[in-house]
Amino acid sequence: MANNKKYWSGLDELDGTEAFKEIQAKEFQEQIPVDQFLADERHSSTTTGRRDFLKFMGFSLTAATLAACETPVIKSIPYTNKPAEITPGVANYYASTYYDGMDYSNVLVKTREGRPIFIKGNTSTGIGAGKVNSRVIGSVMSLYDKARLDGPTQNGNSTTWDDLDNAMSAAVSGTGRTVVLSNTIVSPSTVKAIEALGAEHVQYDAISYSALRMAQADAFGVNAVPSYHFSKAEVIVSIAADFLNSWLSSTLYAPDYALLRGPERGKQSKHFQFESAMTMTGTNADVRTMIKPSEEGKVAAGLLAALKGATVSNLDAGVIKSINAAAKSLNSSKGKSLVVAGSNDLATQTIVAAINQQLGNYGSTLDLERPSMAYRGDDASVSDLVKDMNSGKISTLITYGCNPSYDLPNADAFNTGLAKVKTSVCMNGVADETAVRSTFVAPDHHYLESWNDLSLNSGRIDLVQPTIEPIFNTRAAQESFLNWSSSENSDWYTFLRRQYNASYTSDAMYSDSDWNSAIHDGTMTGNDSPESPEYTAAIDTTQAERKVASVKGGAFELVTYVKATAGSGNHAANPILQETPDPVSKVTWDNYVTMSKSDMDSMGLNTYIAQEDMGSVVKVTVNGKSVELPAFMQPGQKPGTLGIALGYGRGSNGENIGQAAFQTGEQGEHLTHASGLPMPIGANAYPLTSTSEGYTIYANYDVSIEATGAEYPLACTQIHNTYMGRESVVKETSFDSYLAEAGKKKGEASWNKAHRLNVHEDTNHDGVIDARDKKNTSAFDLWHSHPVEEVGHRWGMTIDLTTCTGCSACVTACNIENNVSVVGKDEVLRHRDMHWIRIDRYYASDFSLEKGDEEGVGVIDSYGRMEDPSENPQTVHMPMMCQHCNHAPCETVCPVAATTHSNEGLNQMTYNRCIGTRYCANNCPYKVRRFNWFNYKGYKKFEHVNPAHDSLARLILNPDVTVRARGVMEKCSMCVQRIQSGKLDAKKSGTPILDGQIETACAESCPSNAIKFGDLNDSGSEVRTISENNRAYHALEEIGVKPNVFYMTKVRNS
């Protein structure tokens, strides 16, 4: 394959003319053709990037008004030999599967002219609901990372595949142990390919669940992670398991969980959460109890005891109270409940298994019939491997799909051992921590470039198919294995096909109809072999209980957790994910120590984070190892505990893992240590984890913390935490009071009262006109207004605050779909994030004006106190985007009519008319308008963070959405590009638009279906029905802007 690849935006650049160089820098550039492409001279060669790049520029650069003065001569270059499946300007979708050792999702990859630009869940044939999360959606960005290796390297110098193959075949076939170290491989064929190598295969998981697995093994003889069915669990007790975000296959659990949350069914699942740090799952819990990590086992034991009717002791009264409450509800719904624990401690997991068995949940809400193939990593064998490496017993080590030098608890030991290994090869795509320490690097394809088959359980086999020609000179890892092995067939694709059709030859490439349909669906049924394990065997928990009871906690305890955006660390270089705010803390681009307010006050740390109020840096020391991170005041954090997210501090030795992985300064430059190395974002918390009895423990029961006195800015998109008792913004109620008034008409229930104004007419027909004569604000209209609500389409949204988990998948999806600029930490710090949709996270406050009256506290002080969230607050996640008001305040104030209203109810923002007075943004009650403060795609400040700066990363941009110029206002368009194409399809097919035919990026990506989009004028549409539900309300209804977005009152089952 061509090895001398470079990315060029047009023929000029290829020739490197001066003209082009200056054009590139120019802010205004005449548009470049958008409807033709560069020729693909060699379809088989890897010229995809080049072919489409020209196209991208056309869409990405806004034309200057006066660029029209001179006639630009623009090249437009068609294919010489156009592939049949590509029609210029029409998107193709390919079914594929995402698996990175942690998240697993069936996805549909949207490609334009052979270039993946968007990833959405495969809801038709996907496993479970076929939904995705932020990390999966964002993964397309990593395809276009220019830090990816272009060809194999030896000791950091590039080499050829042949040399590598020779060296490796020799090494593998030579004497001495050869070990393949990988994350859990769920691909049957890959496993075979590795077997062909005839080497030992050690698997481990960055986030290990081996204790959970062993617990099942001990109890029921199935050494696998059970499959959970949250859709059946009406009572959920989670002991520090963040199952909506990171625990096991959260992409499968979140949608199931949501199914039982909506109260309309007359019942709602009840969710107890016991945890130390405030996790995303915790924010959604009905009853959340703060415990120390050292108490997790005790809580489990206590719960078991309570279930058996015994009394619970040696825990705080509050905890015991909720344990009993949980036990009560669990007992009341045996077989329809679920208890999960996040801890990787065998004793705890054994007890939890016992609880679930006791409740008869096995076989209903969780089972081992199709044991999950995921998370089969074995911590013990990894530690053994490390020992052997250090004792020089290993001659060849192949690391695949994992980054042990970074994420092993004993990474240092591993690294020293790695140095002792004779031949080591790493298959990671970038020169990361492990790669730079290995002799060879054999870069693997990105998953969007490769073939693979994945099987999460024996029930089905999901397929991974390439959606783009490999951009770099990379090679499928499996092909490398085959090359290094003695097997005669070294072609991975053939090998893969032969797994399913032994007689496959390349002539039959397209003729196998089963395969073709499988490729189309992205999945096929596996050789289903359900086991039927006995769940009856009594589990002896006495020893486990003794063990958990013996656990001692220190003054400060530490939990490490996984963030919704950073994952286990493999998304560190992804600017889009880095800028997606953490669902709970709303901090972007950073890692920090979450602490309770009381602890911070006693240590005299700054609890208020804003542009110029920096976080106080603390030093957390765990048996010798320590990290320095800013402290972040996290309501709901158990006093005496600290939380640190894993997956940060990547590239701490300056490994080139992607430019977005490093801190940038005020001018966008990379900050560097005194040593000259670039500063990584955050600090690596894996060293703070430990291994005990062969299990990686992600908590630590005795850590020391001290303030360093240093200060560090934290870029937080929301600096104010409570909703100040503004009930017309957020409406919430309890499940009981909901049921009490469930039958009432819309606007009458006490928890969703419509705003009413006095009128001078006898509306209540009591014969007199008095203060009791009122009308809903919706009945008032200043003008003979325009017909949106009855005529034509009326695009609208409904957002259910009850089911919204705050996962932020919508944010990531929106950013990618709409080319939302990434602006970097410094700009976010200045409150200039560009997100079109944000998720407002409000904590409940202990105080209120009413309370102030009772306690005789003045209004001013009351407001002051209402700004502080309570210690263990209830949380509301409120997605907020342009409400597309039919009486939009932003529209009337624009002097040039750049923002107007469409007869379909859309608030239209016309970038090319906008002169940027920002009046509209000031006048927007929802503050959803975003201003282009700089030329984000050209100004040097953003070169390290904004994809539009580098010719490769640009390819991710959506050609159907204008990339906004400097100085214009922008905002949610309700994905008008999708609406337009949807309407066009309907017109072409000559049929009315079906409900659900058009979906916005946010609605499409919402795992819990909280966000719905549709035509409010379509009497049959789902949004119409929901908008008439008595939970539906308009945010800030009383200001009478008549939005087209409805919110659904949040109902808590507490």
């Binding site: 624009c894 006048n923 009650p925």
Partner: protein, 458 residues
């Protein structure tokens, strides 16, 4: 020839004759530039250049160089705009309203007050321009026919009303001012000996010869212009206030804004007039023409307008409480107790307390006190606009997007810069233009001149 009661203080001191008046004003123009003037204009033009530099940096880089953000979309830019416009209200008010009321004392000050007005409005006009994200498309705000359909402007937008109000106000003030200047230019023209200046003033004076018919028209014109300009003065700041009053932002959405803004404008305008005149009368030895009586009159105007402003502040507070709208009331509670309360209390002290000192005759008739207070008021009025704009925006409806505003060096640089440009222009004016309305002064010499009055008394 009209006379006035003898107990009135004379407006022109010293035993002036017509000739003296001419010489007192034209003398400095014909003579060489005084050293003090040279020093001052050097300083002010340096500041001006710095300001222009900051503006260019802003335009070259993007509005992001200011401290604005997604929550606070306007801050110093519009604050300065409103402040300058406000200052620009005194001149026309003095020359128009006081003319209608036949206030003779205005004649000593209206010329320079109007000049100040015009320069202030120019400074004001800078900000709506540079605060645009795409200033190179500023022409979109004018309803010009075009190839886009034609697409027109949005006449519902207060910002567009501003465009018309400000440009009208500026051009009308300008012609009003210039028409008054023509006869005085003629006077200078006929005094000048150096050929080039003589030619220039000749052109500037439009060949004015002081014919009776022309004087007749002249007086009619000034009367009618005054009649037109008076409602204009009030309309302009009312319209500026509508930028806020017509919005939904709590703290902006207030019906009393128009009168409140207008009186505030007059208030700050007079303050600025005081500041400048008190310096000018010394520098140009105009003590006989601008003396304590004039200052006292202006101070009285400041008491009135200042008090109106004070009442407006209190009304706002009352209404915010009385309305019972939680957003409204919080907006005002936040003003005086929130993060920006310092600004609020500065505003209160400077604008409400300080003018009340003028109730004391001693203070009212003291140049020093007046000078200090006038500066204090100018500061206070700047903070008034800052309070209205920033504290209302930074915490509005959704607490999630509550933010803060922190000014950058560019914010400050541009504001200071405009002060520099303003001073430079004003100094140029004092050097080359007749700083007093000669022809008008001469008309009141006999009625209000000291010497003549004494004759009467005898």
């Amino acid at each position: 020839m009209q006379r006035e009661s003898a107990i009135r203080e004379p407006l022109i001191l010293g035993h002036k004759t017509y000739k003296d008046i001419t010489d007192d004003v034209v003398g400095p123009i014909m003579g060489p530039a005084p050293l003090g003037w040279k020093i001052m204009i050097t300083i002010s033009s340096i500041i001006a250049i710095y300001g222009i530099g900051s503006i260019l940096y802003l335009i070259g880089t993007g509005v992001g160089v200011w401290g604005l953000n997604k929550t606070v979309g306007w801050a110093w830019d519009i604050t300065n705009f409103v402040w300058w416009v406000g200052i620009g209200h005194a001149g026309t008010l003095i020359s128009a309203v006081l003319l209608l009321f036949r206030q003779k004392w205005r004649m000593a000050i209206n010329r320079s007050a109007e000049a100040m007005t015009i320069f202030a409005v120019i400074m004001a006009a800078v900000f709506p321009g540079i605060h645009m994200g795409r200033i190179w498309l500023a022409y979109y705000v004018f309803p010009l026919p075009n190839q886009f359909g034609s697409i027109w402007v949005n006449f519902n937008s207060p910002l567009l009303w501003d465009v018309f109000a400000i440009s009208t106000y500026f051009s009308v003030s300008l012609v009003f001012w210039y028409v008054g200047l023509i006869p005085d230019f003629a006077t200078i023209r006929d005094r000048m000996v150096k050929p080039l200046p003589k030619k220039i003033y000749g052109i500037l004076s439009f060949g004015w010869s002081g014919r009776a018919k022309h004087w007749n028209r002249f007086e009619e014109l000034s009367l009618v212009l005054a009649g037109i300009a008076t409602p204009l003065v009030f309309s302009v700041h009312s319209i500026v206030s509508m930028d806020f009053a017509t919005s939904v932002v709590p703290g902006w959405h207030t019906t009393i804004f128009p009168p409140y803004f207008v009186s505030g404008a007059v208030f700050s305008g007079f303050a600025m007039v005081q500041t400048l005149l008190l310096v000018m009368r010394k520098a140009y030895k105009l003590e006989d023409y601008i003396h304590i009586k004039h200052v006292e009159y202006m101070n009285i105007v400041m008491i009135v307008t200042g008090s109106i402003v004070g009442v407006a502040y209190l009304t706002e507070l009352f209404i915010s409480w009385y309305s019972g709208v939680e957003y409204e009331s919080y907006a005002f509670i936040n003003r005086f107790s929130g993060p920006y309360s310092i600004a609020y209390w500065t505003m209160m002290t400077c604008n409400v307390i300080s003018p009340q000192l003028f109730w004391f005759k001693k203070i009212r008739r003291s140049f020093v006190a007046t000078f200090i207070i006038s500066i204090v008021v100018n500061i206070g009025m700047w903070f008034e606009r800052y309070v209205i704009i920033v504290t209302s925006l930074h915490r509005d409806y959704l607490p999630s997007s509550w933010g803060e505003f922190i000014p950058t060096a560019t914010d400050v640089g541009i504001f200071i810069g405009t002060l520099g440009i303003f001073l430079t222009l004003f100094l140029t004016f004092t050097r080359f233009f007749p700083v007093l309305a000669l022809n008008e002064l001469k008309t009141i010499l006999k009625s209000s001149g000291e010497s003549y009055r004494n004759k009467q008394v005898k």
